[in-house]
């Protein structure tokens, strides 16, 4: 079609990723360095280093949750199922390899050298004795191989998300009904894993995961630092990946799907494909976060993927601020650290005379109240504070600069 001859091309280069990404990554690097120095000086305990390392994993899960909820508008209340599955996948190798390292030398003491089958049977009865079995279930078929289990860390959450998402999005289930479906998914998975014959040791779960096979001689103080670094690296890479995904046109389309998916269809975009992409990618990253979390926690059991865990994840993101990645990360760090402070007996009881407020009981009430308050009074969450600071520095002028005719017009202000 005919258009005006001269096109005043005004290139407005936009950075591929927001400057906040580099601020976040810098802060993460400084944090990791400080913790490393303090830990090696003995200023903070190994247990606290582990808590911090676990927090980094939770932050990664929260950033993923922000992409799927804050950007794409899918309130998934089942993402911690992927987190748990990642943990189970790496836990299977950790348990197998460590038990092998204990059982094999013991069997070697016997007059007759043991066969491979004997070793495997011995490992089996060690691991599954607790649920009254001794044979390896089918799901453990790759547990001897670290490479295979690492692949499963990615594949199992990814495939579950792909199949579940495809079924749910294809039927155009949206909003609260989709949230209920995701909730049902994680509940069903937790209930299944609670059974002894699920093959993953029922409610005992997998334990002893903090012992890394082959590094039995390395003190936990050192291992905790390794995992802190690995978690920080995973968070940094995950953050970069998501910052890239939600920038540019992809971010545009995802936010458009969130705001008006029917309109996006009329633009020719396959909305379900974009939802499935966001759901599956975030599930995979959440699975990786879980695989780094549980070796630091030492134990995983089905209670970890109960619906409440995924609800907490949503609460962190809401308090931190939806729709901005650093908000979700800050929310997860703050709330989960506060939570362990309050429930771990860190907060002093308040004696009101007639009643003593014990924070181990009252923390959840406090958290619930803060969630309600954030939703009502500060829907942008903690991240909204950044807007306040920026607005004070650069006034957001939309119109002209003054009411009288001599005042500069908006177009002039840009020059």
């Amino acid at each position: 079609m005919a258009v005006s001859e001269s096109l005043p091309l005004r290139p407005t280069p936009r950075p591929a990723t927001a400057p906040s990404t580099w601020v976040f990554l810098g802060a993460l690097a400084v944090f990791t360095l400080v913790v490393t120095v303090m830990a090696s000086q003995g200023m903070i305990s190994t247990a606290f280093v582990k808590t911090l390392g676990k927090t980094l994993c939770l932050m990664l899960a929260a950033v993923a949750m922000d992409v799927v909820w804050g950007y794409t508008g899918i309130l998934s209340l089942g993402h911690m199922a992927f987190f748990g599955l990642g943990g189970y996948m790496i836990g299977m190798w950790l348990m197998y390899a460590r038990t092998e390292n204990i059982v094999a030398p013991a069997l070697a003491q016997q007059p007759l050298p043991p066969t491979q089958d004997e070793i495997r049977d011995a490992i089996g009865s060690q691991i599954f004795g607790v649920v009254g079995a001794s044979d390896f279930p089918l799901v453990w078929m790759f547990s001897h191989s670290l490479v295979a289990q690492l692949a499963l860390v990615v594949l199992v959450p990814g495939l579950l998300a792909l199949v579940f998402g495809w079924l749910a999005f294809r039927s155009r289930v949206t909003g609260v009904y989709l949230s209920i479906l995701t909730q049902a998914m994680t509940l069903a998975l937790a209930l299944y894993l609670f059974q002894n014959d699920s093959g993953l040791r029922g409610n005992n779960g997998l334990s002893g995961l903090q012992n890394i096979p082959g590094y039995e001689q390395v003190p936990q103080a050192t291992i905790s630092l390794w995992f802190l670094w690995a978690s920080a690296l995973a968070l940094a890479l995950g953050y970069l990946l998501f910052a890239w995904v939600v920038s540019g046109k992809m971010g545009s389309v995802l936010r458009a799907v969130r705001d008006d998916e029917a309109r996006v269809r009329f633009l020719g975009y396959h909305v379900e494909g974009f939802k499935l992409f966001a759901f599956t990618l975030t599930a995979v990253v959440t699975g990786i976060a879980g695989a780094l979390y549980y070796p630091q926690a030492g134990i995983i059991n089905p209670a970890e993927i109960a619906p409440i865990a995924s609800i907490y994840l949503a609460v962190w993101v809401a308090i931190g601020g939806r729709g901005r990645l650093y908000g979700a990360a800050i929310g997860a760090a703050l709330v989960s650290l506060l939570s362990s402070w309050f429930t771990g007996g860190g907060a002093p009881d308040i004696n009101l005379g007639v009643y003593t407020v014990q924070w181990t009981d009252w923390w959840l009430v406090l958290l619930g109240l803060s969630f309600v308050c954030v939703t009502l009074f500060a829907p942008k969450g903690i991240g909204g504070l950044v807007d306040l600071v920026q607005a004070r520095r650069v006034p957001d002028r939309q119109g002209d600069y003054g009411p009288d005719k001599g005042a500069k017009r908006q177009e002039e202000g840009r020059e």
Binding site: P8, P11, G268, F277
Partner: protein, 243 residues
Amino acid sequence: MTLLEVSGVSVSFDGFQAIDNLSFSIGEPELRAVIGPNGAGKTTFMDIVTGKTRPDSGHVLWGEENRNLVGLSEQAIARLGVGRKFQKPTVFEAQSVRDNLAMALKAPRGPFDVLLRRNIDEGRLHEVAAEIGLEDHLDRPAGALSHGQKQWLEIGMLLAQEPRLLLVDEPAAGMTTAEREHTTDLLNRLAQRHAIVVVEHDMAFVRRLGCKVTVLHEGRVLAEGSLDHVTQNKDVIDVYLGR
């Protein structure tokens, strides 16, 4: 050449016959105005063509291969080249004018295409922005635009898609006289190469378009022809103009 042929289409909602054995066809290029009183089925007609509503019977044939659009998804129909402008401007208010246009620009639509092919056709984007008079507003959030500007942005998004058939629902609502003239010019210019269906209430606007008019009433075509022809039709006067 006929681009779109709707034949024998009926649809009812809870017993209400919104479209009753409707037949309609438009060539490429052609400009057509569709008028009719409220409830005549104009919007439902657009919903059927764009795949939002599935008709109870009849078919909607498209293009050289006479492909039936009934049963295709909204995005598949949009990708075949059917663009739609809604009566109420529906732009993505939280995003900038640039982002709105960039999303609409003709380009591969798959998730991985969108993720990996990041360069936007800036030249085309500025061309469209200049056409709709929003070049100086590219970085403003669409929500901050006036109602008329949102109308223009929506028209711009339609242009950016480069569709073969444009379904335009009340393009002039909320526009100034000058803007209405610009809109009629634009539609006339586009009609040299595209098929355009304009739904409009404003007779003066339709007269300026100077094109063939289809009058809908109770889900059926009541009359078809030039504006003068249909305004002299007795049935049309009875149901629509005489009031």
